[in-house]
Symmetry: C2
Subunit: 198 residues, 2 copies
DNA sequence: CCATATAAGATACGTTTAGTATCTTATATT
DNA sequence: AATATAAGATACTAAACGTATCTTATATGG
């Protein structure tokens, strides 16, 4: 089970260099065995250091993994797509988010949601949603300027709807969101909802 | 940590009687300590039996807990509400589902999704969705008969939308879905979507 | 450049739980 | 009444957790 003796190092790493190495190891271990089978011991071994070093910085598995995700898989970074029409923007955004969600995987996302107790969990979830809503509002504002939608119809809940559905798709089916699922979310749900006349 | 010595029993239970007792113990333990801290040992102790007995019937924690949920918390059972208008039916259904989801709790749901690997997980998820869609279609068919919606607009994805959003709410915020969230799902999202004219 | 403080890294430990295996014994079956 | 079956007790190995202790490399600063 990933038992590399992890050849002893020539020099002794410290501070940021060491931190980066551990996060990289966590990220690699995640890819290798998945979240539920990831252990702190294995991460330490992979980073060619010891458990104590890991525990000194990250108190628990979900905290460590979350730090690795923040470093290596920023979910919503990047400019809002600007293809010239709303549908194109939505598809581009959802495909990007889907790609990143799928990189992380249903098992890890579910595992984190299951283990990451405390206020921080909710705060982070709300953060992520806020950033998603922000990006969506950028897209929708441009669409409104083109006369495609009316901004006064858009509530935060509507703006977060596409990404919510995408995440829901991954979490409940445990399979990567398919291309057709993305198109359905846009064409069956979101566009009819925001383009209704009235 | 729930260390009742569990006074020795007079008679020795077998078959169904024993099975029910273990599932009841699992259900109680779930309520007592939550999913992540539920252990097979504690369930066995609570049921006044031994680990081996539990393992003989249920191979793992998620399988055991899922069996307990099926017995004690059927998510979608019951007739489709029939209040006389679509909005009333939707609110009634969502409130019922929300109540049951909240009884189970975000931690358990996330934990199961995280641990329950294999085909069965996806099958069950699809089952649950199918039953939800079925109930929704009953409601929507009656609404169509009253002229409130047009059935030809309704796809499976649209029919499962309200319950999907409800589950998403619980899983990501980790708090019981609020009454206002339910109203928003109905009034901001679902009704505008299915009652659009065209 | 040496003295000192700090933190890396190794190691060991006590604990918990998983999961299996073995054994005795109550009880259902014939 | 004899026999087969499964309950229930117990013991065991094997992770992995999280902590504590100890040595030693290296950064710092006088």
């Amino acid at each position: 089970m990933s038992r590399k003796p992890a050849l002893p190092r020539a020099t002794r790493r410290r501070g940021e260099e060491l931190e980066v190495a551990v996060l990289q190891a966590a990220w690699d271990e995640l890819a290798a065995v998945g979240y539920t089978r990831l252990t702190i011991e294995a991460v330490a071994t992979r980073a060619a250091t010891s458990k104590a070093v890991v525990y000194r910085r990250w108190r628990s598995r979900p905290i460590l993994v979350l730090a690795a995700l923040r470093a290596y898989a920023p979910m919503l970074s990047g400019e809002a797509p600007n293809t010239g029409d709303l549908r194109g923007d939505l598809l581009a955004l959802l495909r990007r988010v889907a790609k990143r969600l799928n990189e992380i995987g249903a098992e890890t996302l579910n595992g984190l949601l299951a283990e990451y107790v405390g206020d921080t969990a909710r705060e982070i979830a709300l953060d992520v949603r806020a950033i998603g809503v922000e990006t969506m509002m950028t897209i929708l504002t441009r669409a409104a300027a083109r006369g495609e939608v009316r901004l006064e119809h858009i509530t935060p809940r509507i703006a977060s709807l596409p990404i919510d559905l995408l995440r829901n798709e991954l979490l409940t089916t445990r399979t990567p969101a398919s291309a057709t699922a993305i198109v359905e979310i846009v064409d069956e749900i979101f566009l009819p909802l925001v383009q209704r006349n009235g």
